[in-house]
Amino acid sequence: MSGAVAPGRIETALRAKRDTGQKCLVPYITGGLGDDWLQSLAAVIDGGADACEIGIPFSDPVMDGPVIQQANDIALEAGVTPHSIAADLRDFESPIPLATMTYYNIAYRMGHERFANMLNEAGISGSILPDIQMDESHDWISTANDNGIENVLFAAPTSPDERLARTGELARGFVYAVGLLGITGERSELAASAVEIARRAKEHTDLPVLVGVGIGSPEQAVEACAVADGVIIGSTVVRRLVEGPGSTAERAESVRELIAEYRTALDNAFPPD
């Protein structure tokens, strides 16, 4: 495994945000959802995101709840592939760093090296693979590090300290703190576990620690950020893309407004120093 790896775009951007005393906002959108899905990405950026996760649809997304599953299915039925998403992004000049979020078989089938190359060619800085935990990740992590891809790792409420320590050492970009025991989706209240796992993860790493899974409102985001360096919001965003009204432009505007609401709430609660 590589020793010193220079911080990538995601870590640099999120640290810079943290250094101002503000909190990081990282939305998730499903890649290829609708022909002009890049409008959704543009909306996320306009709304004030610090980085964005692009989901590559997978047939069996075991960490995802109904909303993201549905978005997956729609995109897959439309013929979206990892390559089509990468191709779409190649000509998109993103002012914020991007990470893909998909399942390991997509990378395994393509081959680690080719997967890393695909991300680089598309201008994607990071990779998030929720179903390959660090004990199975050695090969992929070396390939990612060698190719300058920031491989995000997860800290779960069930992780003992020893695993949190190794997560902190091996993760790049940020540490994804799983807010609750469960799959992606909004919940009516923020789980107590969200703040607790953020606190525990931060004891073991200086990387930014972002809470994801179960954040369903700007208020919950603010609550989680009492300890966390930021939040990841997925289902609440994708719901607007799947269930939102009318045209793509209208859905994109609705997403922009949503991101802006989170941005404002976070910035009001945690203004720059």
């Binding site: 069996d60 897959l76 089938r109 199975e136 997860f154 069930t158």
Partner: protein, 385 residues
């Protein structure tokens, strides 16, 4: 040496492993240690053996099939897992896991099911041990196997339809895993085959080893030798793993029979889904393909990692049969031996009938892993009698 302990990484050659979300890793490690501890504990073994004897009805017999044998020109004997309580081999695994779950302080069992046999077995064990039980079953399978859905409910289990994807076994596994991610503290995922993350493929094989151990002794006693060929159907591959484990160190040829519409070993390439690296039917991008088989119990695009390993090292071979061959074979055993096989087992029968020239004069042991009662309604729609 094949079919031994895969070690802490849970690898059978290159296959297996533990490809799960971080949330589940500690639970898998806890389960690995709890199983090792229980399996080494004579008290646990005694309790399981007592249940296998007094509740399941083990040892079940080895049955000679003289009329079938005469018709096809080889000596066929069957291990009668169909005679177990609940009607299939699934109870062997479930009783072991339920006892283990209880020992670990879990109060709830979660399971996936295809044909419903594993779901019925899990619901049964939950009732026996006073645990609550939730079974995920593909919506398509719930229609095909109405009888088993009713049985599970009668046994006090909640049956939840899996509505995503192909709405069959693969999707039921996804739903069970999603449940487990949320309930891991009080629930045990009672996985129904030799698949999933380590330690499941190893643990489930060990819990089914009794099939092979008994059959080996019975075959020696009856025929004075090991069989030339041992065959069983393979979906995830638990009944095959159980019977193969008793003969892997002999000269017997081991033949697993996959459905042509879900032949992971035959048509798949290595891939990762449901916690394991194994042969998997998938497209060029790594999307898992939907299996299509007349048998809900074999309707699965993957296979247990140990089978991938046995295939890769050439210790076992895997053949495919079509639904049409299965429908024909399903009718042979009732006519010749007075035994209605499960559609899953009809796959092994179909292969033997097709391979009768190759098998001529040989002693062939088949695992009759389940009885066909559950399939009668479905077959009534297909056969004109």
């Amino acid at each position: 040496m094949a079919m031994t302990d895969p070690g802490p990484a849970g690898r059978f050659g290159e296959f297996g492993g533990r490809f799960v979300p971080e949330t589940l890793v500690p639970a898998c490690i806890e389960l690995e240690h709890a199983f090792a501890d229980a399996w080494a504990d004579q008290g646990f073994r005694d309790e399981l053996n007592r249940l296998q004897r007094d509740y399941t009805g083990r040892p079940n017999p080895l049955t000679d099939c003289p009329r079938f044998s005469e018709e096809f020109g080889f000596t066929m004997v069957m291990k009668r897992e169909d005679l177990n309580h609940t009607g299939s081999h699934k109870i062997n695994n479930v009783l072991g896991q339920a006892l283990l779950a209880k020992r670990m302080g879990k109060t709830r069992l979660v399971a996936e099911t295809g044909a419903g046999q594993h779901g019925v077995a899990t619901a049964t064990a939950a009732a026996l041990l006073g645990m609550s039980c939730m079974v995920y079953m593909g919506e398509v399978d719930m229609k095909r196997q109405e009888l088993n859905v009713f049985r599970m409910k009668l046994l006090g289990a909640e049956v939840v339809p899996a509505l995503s994807g192909s709405r069959t076994l693969k999707d039921a596994v996804n739903e069970a895993m999603r449940d487990w991610v949320a309930t891991v503290e009080d629930s045990h995922y009672c996985l129904g085959s030799v698949m999933g993350p380590h330690p499941y493929p190893f643990m489930v094989r060990e819990l089914h080893r009794v099939i092979g151990t008994e059959a080996r002794e019975q075959c020696l006693e009856r025929h004075g030798r090991h069989p030339d060929v041992v065959t069983a159907c393979v979906g995830g591959g638990s009944n095959a793993a159980g019977i193969f484990s008793g003969f892997v160190d002999t000269d017997a040829e081991l033949v697993g029979i996959e459905p042509a519409g879900g032949a992971a070993v035959g048509d798949g390439v290595p891939g990762v889904v449901h916690g394991m690296l194994s042969y998997l039917k998938q497209d060029e991008f790594g999307q898992v393909l939907e299996a299509e088989s007349i048998s809900a119990g074999l309707d699965y695009p993957g296979v247990g990692p140990e089978h991938s390993h046995l295939a890769a090292i050439g210790r076992a071979r895997y053949e495919q049969v079509t639904d049409a061959e299965v429908i024909e074979a399903f009718q042979v055993l009732p006519r010749t031996e007075g035994i209605i096989p499960a559609l899953e087992c009809a796959h092994a029968l179909a292969w033997m009938i097709r391979a009768k020239d190759e098998l001529a004069g040989k002693l062939v042991l088949m695992n009759l892993s389940g009885r066909g009662d559950k399939d009668v309604t479905q077959m009534m729609g297909i056969l004109e009698l």
